[in-house]
Amino acid sequence: MKTLRDRYGIVGVGETEYSRGSNRTTRAMAVEAVRKAILDAGLTAADVDGMMSYQNGDSTPANWVAPDLGIRLNFYMDVVGGGSSTEALIGLAMGAIEAGMCSTVAIFRSMNGYSEFRIGGTGVRAAQPVRGLDLAQVPFGMRSAGQNFALTFMRHMYEYGTTSEQVAHVKVAHSKHASQNPKALLKERVTVEDVVGSRWIVKPLHLLDCCLETDNATCLIVTSAERARDCRPRPVYVMGVAGRVNKPRTDFHWAHGPITRVAGHYARDIVFGQAGIGPEDVDVTGSYDAFTFTTMLQLEEYGFCPKGEGGAYVSSGTIELGGKRPNNTAGGHLCEGYTHGMSMVIENVRQLRGTVDDYCPGAADGVHTYDYGPGRCRQVRDAEIAMNLGWAMPPTGSALILRR
């Protein structure tokens, strides 16, 4: 299998505040996030000559953001996409550098996901005309991500006996992690009872099974391993990347079943094959949590537990800080805030550097207490390999394996 293992790295990460009312343009937020990532890397604007972003007509393109920072680009590309784009774009940035098109790429996502452009059948979008795939969906009231995924979740419960209480542990774990994250929108720890007692949104999803609409911008910087070694932080290398991998017949995947199988089934051999490792070698995961169920479905599809045993896996304590393989240690989209996946990669980069921005006074210098009580530490001890499992829909996903 072709692999660029260890030949590229992520050298800078940055983000704006996670809020529900930024009162700023996506352009201004993108500029802040990219600037912070450049500073984090110890680079200057002149060192960055590539830029990529992903959006759904809800953001500012790269060639508007770059000039605001005095960056002249040799390569830029804005793609249509939400979740699962981050990992895929890291692979594309590596490809652009490998092809000699540019040398260092900043990848950003900037969205006022709460105050401007809410996803799903709420707000102004509910009045949009019926078109495209909507032909088959809108008469049946299928408008939002939660509705779209819910039938996959229901079938999983039917086939494997998965319970709401088991899956609620994903929210419990991520809320625990968010309580150690000064940036998180929701810092309060919740219980299984809180989750299953919250109101129904779309069966089997309760309110607390769903992520948070958020205003935020995020950025990370990809460059070659040679340049990475000259950057300020400890380099984090890309071992493997896959995305955006599809199931057969993506748009009507339910017509070709099984709907409990998600894209990770097809992505795992690509990403683990490049990296030359298996799930047992991974210390930290970032399994996309648009909903509690998406985290579980992907963990089992990538082989962290046998297929169908995701409910037992996520409720075993394994995915919590202090457990064997914590997931989304910043609190993820359920608790930190919703960024279409990039924040989960940023968190894993920080985990591998050993400089997670928790409440430990010496965090920036890599000094942590490893006390996982509320308002304390969220650094995983000696994390060497981290994996991100990006989710767009049941039939579309991406994956990324990083090492320090």
Binding site: P139, G141, Y158, K203
Partner: protein, 131 residues
């Protein structure tokens, strides 16, 4: 909770590729496309067979009988409703709604039959009710 109120259903736009489907729906018949080359039926209707690429696709009438493959109940709406994937006797699975029943009593595997529900100014759409 029993839900009997009717949810307003947006009209599906009709185009030349799908007109026979909607004309049949108006007459109370559920059509599928079947490929004359590979014999596989499919839905949503297409000119080109999504399985073998042949353009020899033909309309065929379905029995309108099926079972619930999966479903969900949308509560965040003025009138809660049940979206479902129904697997027809012909082997095709289609997106639809389960209607005219207690949405809390719907079960995966349940037998259902087609009914046609009026839309806002367009042709009726195929939905399903417990058989």
């Amino acid at each position: 909770m029993s839900v009997r109120e009717e949810r307003p259903i947006p009209a599906p736009p009709v185009n030349p590729e799908t007109r026979p489907f909607w004309d049949a729906a108006a007459a109370g018949r559920l059509l599928l496309k079947r490929c004359a080359a590979c014999t596989q039926p499919h839905h949503y209707p297409r000119v080109i067979c999504p399985f073998c690429g042949s353009d020899r696709t033909e309309w065929t009438e379905a029995t309108g009988r099926g079972t619930v493959y999966s479903y969900s109940v949308f509560r965040r709406a003025p009138i809660p409703y049940a979206i479902a994937y129904v697997t027809l006797a012909e082997g095709v699975t289609m997106m639809t709604n389960i209607v005219d029943c207690d949405v809390d009593a719907i079960r995966i595997g349940q037998p259902v039959r087609v009914v046609f529900k009026p839309t806002e100014g367009g042709p009726p759409v195929p939905m399903f009710t417990p058989a």
